[in-house]
């Protein structure tokens, strides 16, 4: 869609002690697109997200944000760049209402007093901008919301901060059919509003429903990053489970130490 990717990772390595979790990973994320990050349990999806969000800074590799090299050493760095992560466990406070949750830690104040009307207005505008109509009152406590509504609030919270990149960690994992549809619709809308979205999911239906590109991780290596239209359901499953599928993915034995794949759209093979 866009010429310069919003975020480009090159050669990311990450080890926890003797365990190498990410090996020479490359990833490109474009604005206005949903990039699905798929992979089996332990493939390194969460670790990669934590590297991007600054929770676990990477050991080696380059980060390019809008084409500029950047260093992300802490969650604060990531937030400053406009990277927001919506975690699986949502990180909402049940005893606070929607507005309070959306502004948590970044409250608007006039003097020392909280500026509630402004916060409520901004929250309402954000939700309206995302065409979210499922919440009846912004002053509802989060404890009274359904799983889908909570996910909606968590996503809206991430969008509130003029964020450029939103990373969603399994947003539909705990949801029913109708709520999943709502959340996926919201994910699509984020991208249509010009944000770059990274969606982590185990659910192939979700991935094919909303993503523009699919990036597959296999045992800590990025085995493929392709357009969703260029790949089939079965091929993605093969990439996730075996690391290769036909001409895609690792050309050789997946256990070997391959060079990283080339970024975006290319079909890469691990070269010995």
């Amino acid at each position: 869609m866009s010429a310069t990717p919003l975020l480009e990772l090159r050669g990311i390595d990450k080890s926890f002690g003797p365990v190498q979790v990410l090996r020479d990973v490359a990833l490109t994320v474009h604005p206005g697109e949903v990039t699905a990050l798929v992979g089996d349990n332990g493939a390194g999806k969460s670790t990669l997200v934590k590297c991007i969000s600054g929770i676990h800074p990477s050991d080696a590799g380059e980060f390019l944000f809008n084409g500029e090299p950047v260093h992300i050493g802490s969650p604060r760095d990531a937030a400053t760049l406009g990277i927001e992560v919506v975690y699986q466990d949502l990180a909402l406070c049940d005893n606070l209402d929607i507005v309070q949750n959306m502004f948590l830690g970044r409250e608007r104040r006039s003097g020392i007093v909280l500026d509630e009307p402004t916060m409520e207005q901004l929250a309402a505008e954000t939700l309206a901008g995302l065409s979210i109509r499922t919440v009846t009152s912004l002053r509802q406590h989060v404890s009274s919301l359904s799983g889908g509504q909570r996910q909606t609030v968590a996503i809206a919270k991430a969008v509130l901060w003029n964020s450029k990149l939103v990373i969603l960690d399994e947003p539909t994992a705990a949801l029913g059919v109708a709520q999943t549809a709502q959340v996926l619709e919201l994910v699509r809308r984020l991208a249509d509003n010009g944000l770059a979205v990274v969606l982590i999911s185990h659910n192939m239906n979700d991935v094919f429903a909303v993503s523009d590109r699919i990036a597959a991780l296999y045992l800590g290596q990025m085995v493929a990053q392709v357009k969703t239209t260029d790949i089939t359901h079965a091929q993605v499953v093969e990439l996730i489970t075996a690391g290769r599928s036909g001409g895609l993915g690792l050309a050789t034995d997946p256990g070997s130490n391959g060079d990283g794949p080339e970024p975006a759209d290319s079909i890469s093979g691990g070269v010995r």
Binding site: P75, A91, N95, V113, A124, R133
Partner: protein
């Protein structure tokens, strides 16, 4: 895509103005959903007062006894107000009672033994509270010892400190005019009325300004009738109390006239307003609720969780210091039992009876005042009934247990109806 989702034109759209009936229905559904708030305390207060009024009409309902209730319950209420902050994080401070004793002993030593003016003694007592709170908070937040253990150790140690400060069992009298006046003198009736008017007008102005601001921005507001009811209710309650307290309470007017609001009442009222403002209107207060509701979420939101945890212990111990000052004023002295025996449990009871959750995340400073009133009425009424201390303890224990059960049950109910 999903048609069921379309309920209105979006959250920003102006919904039809809520009605009084809708407001009431809203409240009732919240109560049914487990959010009972201070309702048990208010109902309990009404029931207790009715029972005692029927059984002991002449003594319980007298103006003198009404004034007594305030001075009796003041120290416990003040300690409970501080405890609310600790309870909001789901922590506990078992040392608050004896912390108030230590601070009272410091006060008595500074003013009586060392002979400094009253305000130096008050500052010293509050500073002692701040030091105690900082120490407890550091041990809980930085070292990671459960607050139960830290403050249990504090409970024992401070008991010893009080003994040491009052020289093994003697007592230190507090004779300073100003300090004694806190719990034993009254405001002039006209001043009392002026403060009442100020409180009602101030409350009304804040409510109306907020209402106007929200209307101007097109946000959903409470109906103006509800506002009027709130302001009118406050005016009626304060006005009635003020009228009764301004009646002559002296048995013999020729010897001494006794009327007006006990000075400790406006002290509690001012602290109530300040702490309510801090909790409801500042980001610090918001962060306390957040840490109490979901500590991990608060941490991820960039809130300095350790700082919040330490600060609530500082507030709690400082309020305990103020409670200790009031207790010393009321007794005219400090002895090894100041802040001891049932003070702590009464204070925890007051906070919980008022509707503050022991699980954290839910509670208001007003809860401590309402719960403190319940505790004071039980103590006072049972005393008038001629029951001995044993029965009083048992009854207060049962009431505390009842309040904790209401808290636990309403939590379960809220969890059950949460995903409606």
């Amino acid at each position: 895509m999903t048609t069921t989702a379309v309920r209105k034109d979006g959250p920003a759209a102006v919904t039809p103005a809520p009605t009084v009936g809708g407001h009431v229905r809203n409240y009732l559904s919240r109560v049914r959903g487990g959010d009972v708030g201070a309702l048990p305390a208010v109902l309990g207060l009404i029931v207790l007062c009715t029972v005692f009024a029927i059984l002991r009409p002449s003594s319980f309902l007298s103006a003198g006894n009404f004034a007594n209730l305030f001075t009796q319950g003041a120290a416990v209420t003040l300690i409970a107000m501080g405890l609310v902050f600790v309870l909001l994080l789901g922590e506990i401070d078992l040392s608050a009672g004896f912390a108030s004793g230590v601070c009272a002993a410091v006060l008595a030593n500074v003013v009586t033994v060392l002979g400094y003016p009253w305000w130096v003694a008050v500052l010293a007592a509050v500073a002692t509270g701040v030091v105690i709170g900082t120490t407890l908070g550091m041990l809980v937040a930085k070292i990671g010892i459960p607050s139960f253990v830290v403050t249990l150790a504090g409970f024992l140690a401070f008991q010893g400190v009080v003994l040491l400060l009052v020289q093994e069992g003697t007592n230190i009298s507090v004779r300073d005019e100003v300090l004694v006046a806190i719990a034993n003198r009254n405001l002039a009736p006209t001043l009392g009325w002026a403060l009442t008017a100020l409180a009602v007008v101030g409350y009304g102005a804040v409510q109306l300004l907020r209402h106007r601001n929200r209307v101007a921005r097109g946000l959903i507001t409470d109906p103006i009738a509800v506002l009027a009811l709130r302001i009118g209710g406050l005016a009626v309650i304060l006005g009635t109390a003020m009228y009764v307290l301004n009646l002559e309470r002296s048995r013999n007017v020729l010897i001494v006239s006794l009327k007006g609001v006990p000075i400790v009442v406006p002290i509690i009222a001012v602290l109530l307003v300040i702490w309510t403002f801090v909790l409801q209107r500042t980001s610090y207060g918001r962060h306390i609720y957040a840490v109490g509701g979901n500590r991990e979420a608060a941490r991820r939101a960039g809130i300095d969780v350790d700082r919040i945890r330490i600060s609530v212990f500082v507030i709690c111990s400082s309020m305990a210091a103020i409670g200790g000052i009031v207790a010393a004023s009321r007794a005219n002295s400090v002895d090894p039992n100041t802040g001891g025996s049932n003070v702590l449990l009464y204070a925890v009871g007051a906070a919980v009876i008022g509707g503050t959750s022991l699980f954290g995340g839910k509670g208001r400073v007003l809860d401590a005042v309402l719960g403190g009133a319940v505790v004071a009425v039980i103590e006072n009424g049972m005393g008038l009934m001629g029951y001995d201390a044993g029965v009083k303890y048992v009854v207060t224990g049962v009431v505390l247990l009842l309040a904790a059960s209401v808290d636990a049950l309403s939590r379960r109910r809220a969890a059950a109806t949460g995903s409606r």
